[in-house]
C-alpha cells in the first residue's frame, strides 16, 4: 500500500485572461483600406464585363482570384470592425494572398507597389503583440518574463 503525499500532477492553472476588445485605430484603418480595395476590385471587375475575357491566360485567372479575395476582404472588414477572433487570421490570409499576387505581378513586370506597401505594413501591424492580444492570439505563457 503506497502512501504518497501527492498525486504528482503539476498542472499549471494560469489565471483566466480577459481579452481587451477595444478596437485599435490601426485596425479601423486596415478595415477602411480593405473596404476601398475590395469595393474597387469588385466594381472594376463588374464594370469591365466579368465574363467577356473568358479564361484564356494566367492574368484572367489571377484577376478572378483577386475578385474572390476582394469578396473575402469584405467579410474581413466586417470582422475587423466587430473585433471578432476569426477576423485576425482571415485578414492575414487576405493580405498574404494580396502580397503573393503582388509579388507574382512584380515578377511579370506589372508591379503594384502601393498595394504591396499597404499589405506589408498591415501584416506587421496585425502581427504586433498588442494587436494579437486584442484578438486573443497571445499565448497565456507570455505572462512569464522572458530572460
Amino acid at each position: 500500500m503506497r502512501n504518497e503525499t501527492s498525486a504528482g500532477i503539476n498542472e499549471q492553472h494560469p489565471a483566466k485572461r480577459t481579452v481587451d476588445r477595444t478596437r485599435p485605430f490601426g485596425v479601423t484603418a486596415i478595415a477602411f483600406i480593405q473596404l476601398v480595395s475590395s469595393v474597387s476590385a469588385i466594381g472594376g471587375w463588374w464594370v469591365s464585363g466579368p465574363f467577356d475575357a473568358g479564361f484564356r491566360d494566367a492574368a484572367v485567372y489571377l484577376n478572378s482570384l483577386s475578385v474572390a479575395i476582394a469578396g473575402i476582404g469584405l467579410i474581413v472588414v466586417v470582422g475587423l470592425l466587430l473585433m471578432v477572433k476569426w477576423a485576425w487570421p482571415l485578414a492575414l490570409f487576405v493580405l498574404s494572398v494580396q502580397l503573393a499576387v503582388g509579388l507574382w505581378a512584380y515578377y511579370h513586370g506589372h508591379p503594384n507597389f502601393i498595394t504591396m506597401v499597404l499589405s506589408v505594413v498591415a501584416i506587421f501591424y496585425l502581427n504586433s503583440r498588442d494587436v494579437r492580444g486584442s484578438f486573443g492570439f497571445i499565448n497565456p505563457r507570455e505572462t512569464v518574463p522572458i530572460e
Binding site: R2, E4, S6, N10, L103, V117, S119, F124, N127, S128
Partner: protein
C-alpha cells in the same frame, strides 16, 4: 547522526520505466569486467594496460593522470553482438518490451527535416554500434549473477548551513539512443540525486531535492520539500529515472528534451539575437511561440521516458538499496580521472563514456562534486533557521539607515527656506549677480538632495515593512510559494500531447521521406518546372502537417510574415534611394521633436 544514518534516513526511491535494461550496479564488479586502456586524446591509438579480471578499484585509484594528450579509459564491451546473436538477444523471452509513441509526431515538419539530417549525421558517426547495447546487457547480467546488490555511492557535505546528501548511481550503459530513440549511447553512466537538509543542532530538517536532468541547471533543478509536486513516502523522495538516459525527474511522465549540437551553438546565439530584435524591440508575434520554434529548429527533440511503471528501488520497495559511503580514501572516486567506458573521441561528446563521480571528461572537477550548493543555486538561499536572524539583522540596518535619512531630511527641510529667502533677496538686488548664481545653484542642489532623500525614505520604509511582514510569515511557518524560484518548469508532456492520433504519427514517420522522394520524382518527371512544382509540394506538405497538428493559424502567420519580409526586400530594392531619404527624414524629425520637447520641458 552518522553519515550513513543520514544517507539511509532520506535515501530516495527510484522508479524506472518498464523496458529499462540497466539498473544501478556495483562499481567493483563492473571495473573487474572491464579492460583498462591508455589512449590518445584523438582516439586514434590506445594501449592495453589491464585485461578483464585484472582491473580493480584499488588499481584505478593508484593511476597517475597521464600526459596531456592521453587519457585512461575502461572498455566494457570488446565486441558488439553480430547479426545472429543480436536477433537471438532481441527475441529472448525475458527481454522487457518498451512501447512508445514516436517523438517525431510531437514536432513540426521543418524540425523533423532538420532532425532527419541530424539522424543521418548520427548514423554516419556510428560511434557506438547497435550490437554494443546487447553485448553490454549480457555482460551486465553476468555481473548481476555474482552481485545482485543495487548500490548507491553516497557522500555527505556540511556547508553554508546545509547538509548535502549526495547520492551517486552507477549504470553500466546509457542505451537511450538504441533502446529508446534518444540522443546517445555510451558505456557507463553516472547519475546523481541530492537532498539538502538544514544543518540544525537537533534533528536535521529536509529542505530541497534535486536530480540530474538534461537541459536544466541551477535553481530550476531543485524542488522544495513541501512542494506538492514532489512525491514522497515518509522521508524518502520518489525520483523517476528516465529509460536509457537515467536522468532523474521528480514527476513521472514523458519529457520532451531538446538536444543542442555543439557546432550549432554560434548559429543559435545569432538566431537568439534576431529573436530578441523581433519580439522585444519590434514587438512582433507571440514571443513564447517564436522562442519555442527557434529552440526547436536548432535543438533536436527527444523524449525522455520517465514513466515510473517499471522496477522500483528504495526503502519499502521491491528492491532495497545497498548504501556505500564514499570517503577520501576511495581512490577510484577521488583520483581516477579517466573515463569509465569506451572513449570514442566523439566530436559531439554525446557518445563518449563519462568520467567518474568527481571529474568531467577533461579532468576538471565537476561542479556537483566541488560545489553542490552552488550547482542548484542555493548559495543565495538562507536556511529557515538562519532566515529569521538574518532578517532581524537586516531590519535593524534598514531602520538605522531610515533614522539617519530622516535626520538628513529634517536638516535640509530647515535649511531650504533660509536658502530660498537668501536667493529671493539677492534677486531683488542688482549688485550681487555672481553671489546670486552660486546661491541659486546651491538651492537647486539642496532641493535635489531633499527629493532623493524623500524617495530613499519611502524605499526604506517599504523595505522595513516587507522584512517585518516576512519575519511574521516565517514565524507562522509560511515560506511562500514553493515554486517561486523556478524560472523554467520541467513538466511532463500532457496526455493530449502524448496521445497524438495514429494518422499524425504515421504522417510524422513518412512525411520527410515522402518529401525527399517527391523532390526526386519532380526532378525526373518535371525538370522544366521543378522550382514551381517543388515549391507547391513543400507548401502542400506544410499545409497538411499544420492541419493534422491543428497549427494552421501558426502556418498562416509564418507564411504571411515571410511574404511581408520578401516584399519588404523588393520594396527596399526598388526604392532604395527613397527608403534612405525617408529613414533619414524620419530620424531628423525625431531628433527635432525630441529637442523641442526638451526646450519646452525646461
Amino acid at each position: 547522526m552518522s553519515d550513513l544514518d543520514l544517507l539511509r534516513k532520506y535515501e530516495p526511491i527510484v522508479r524506472y520505466t518498464h523496458g529499462e535494461l540497466f539498473f544501478p550496479c556495483p562499481v567493483d564488479g563492473y571495473v573487474n569486467a572491464c579492460e583498462l586502456h591508455l589512449g590518445t586524446a584523438d582516439g586514434e591509438e590506445s594501449r592495453l594496460l589491464g585485461s578483464r579480471g585484472e582491473v580493480t578499484l584499488e588499481s584505478l585509484g593508484t593511476l597517475r593522470p597521464p600526459s596531456q594528450n592521453h587519457q585512461h579509459f575502461l572498455r566494457f564491451v570488446d565486441r558488439p553482438l553480430d547479426g545472429r546473436e543480436l536477433a537471438r538477444w532481441l527475441i529472448r523471452e525475458d527481454r522487457p518490451v518498451f512501447n512508445a509513441r514516436g517523438r517525431l509526431a510531437r514536432v513540426g515538419l521543418l524540425i523533423r527535416t532538420m532532425d532527419s539530417l541530424f539522424e543521418l549525421a548520427s548514423l554516419l558517426r556510428g560511434r557506438v554500434p547497435g550490437g554494443t547495447v546487447a553485448a553490454a546487457e549480457r555482460r551486465y547480467r553476468e555481473i548481476r549473477r555474482t552481485d545482485s546488490s543495487y548500490p548507491y555511492y553516497g557522500r555527505v557535505l556540511r556547508r553554508s548551513g546545509y547538509i548535502v546528501l549526495h547520492y551517486h548511481l552507477f549504470y553500466t550503459m546509457n542505451d537511450w539512443r538504441t533502446s529508446f530513440h534518444g540522443v546517445n549511447d555510451h558505456e557507463a553512466d553516472w547519475e546523481q540525486i541530492f537532498i539538502y537538509l538544514e544543518d540544525c543542532e537537533d534533528e536535521p530538517r529536509p529542505l530541497w531535492v534535486a536530480g540530474s536532468v538534461h537541459e536544466f541547471s541551477g535553481q530550476d533543478l531543485r524542488r522544495r520539500w513541501d512542494d506538492p509536486v514532489l512525491l514522497r513516502r515518509g522521508d524518502h523522495p520518489i525520483v523517476f529515472a528516465a529509460a536509457g538516459s537515467h536522468a532523474n525527474y521528480l514527476q513521472p511522465g514523458e519529457y520532451l528534451a531538446r538536444y543542442e549540437v555543439g557546432i550549432l551553438k554560434p548559429v543559435s546565439r545569432f538566431v537568439d539575437q534576431v529573436r530578441r530584435l523581433w519580439t522585444e524591440i519590434l514587438r512582433q508575434g507571440d514571443p513564447t511561440k517564436i522562442g519555442d520554434r527557434i529552440a526547436g529548429l536548432l535543438r533536436f527533440p527527444y523524449v525522455d521516458y520517465a514513466r515510473g511503471d517499471g522496477l522500483s528501488v528504495g526503502p519499502g520497495e521491491e528492491i532495497e538499496w545497498t548504501p556505500v559511503v564514499l570517503s577520501p580514501e576511495d581512490g577510484w572516486a577521488e583520483n581516477y580521472q579517466g573515463l569509465w567506458g569506451l572513449s570514442t573521441s566523439d566530436p559531439f561528446e554525446g557518445e563518449s563514456a563519462p568520467a567518474g563521480p568527481k571529474f568531467n571528461r577533461d579532468g576538471t572537477i565537476r561542479k556537483t562534486w566541488s560545489d553542490p550548493i552552488g550547482w542548484t543555486g542555493l548559495h543565495k538561499v538562507a536556511t529557515p533557521g538562519e532566515s529569521r536572524g538574518m532578517l532581524q539583522t537586516r531590519l535593524g540596518e534598514v531602520l538605522e539607515e531610515l533614522r539617519i535619512t530622516e535626520f538628513d531630511i529634517a536638516e535640509l527641510e530647515s535649511q531650504l527656506p533660509q536658502l530660498g529667502l537668501e536667493v529671493e533677496a539677492l534677486q531683488r538686488s542688482e549688485v550681487f549677480h555672481s553671489i546670486l548664481d552660486e546661491r541659486q545653484r546651491a538651492l537647486t542642489a539642496a532641493e535635489s538632495s531633499l527629493d532623493a532623500l524623500v524617495a530613499k525614505r519611502s524605499e526604506l520604509v517599504q523595505t522595513a515593512e516587507a522584512i517585518q511582514l516576512h519575519i511574521e510569515r516565517i514565524d507562522d511557518g509560511d515560506y511562500g510559494d514553493p515554486t517561486s524560484h523556478i524560472r523554467q518548469f520541467h513538466t511532463p508532456l500532457s496526455r493530449e500531447e502524448i496521445q497524438e492520433s495514429r494518422i499524425v504519427e504515421t504522417w510524422a514517420a513518412v512525411s520527410v521521406g515522402l518529401l525527399l522522394l517527391g523532390f526526386a520524382l519532380i526532378l525526373v518527371f518535371f525538370p522544366q518546372i521543378w522550382i514551381t512544382a517543388a515549391g507547391g509540394m513543400v507548401i502542400a506538405f506544410f499545409a497538411i502537417d499544420a492541419a493534422l497538428r491543428r497549427h494552421l493559424t501558426d502556418l498562416l502567420v509564418a507564411s504571411s510574415v515571410l511574404l511581408a519580409l520578401v516584399s519588404l526586400g523588393v520594396l527596399v530594392y526598388e526604392f532604395f534611394f527613397e527608403t534612405v531619404v525617408t529613414v533619414v527624414t524620419l530620424l531628423s524629425l525625431l531628433v527635432i521633436i525630441d529637442n523641442f520637447r526638451e526646450i519646452r520641458g525646461r
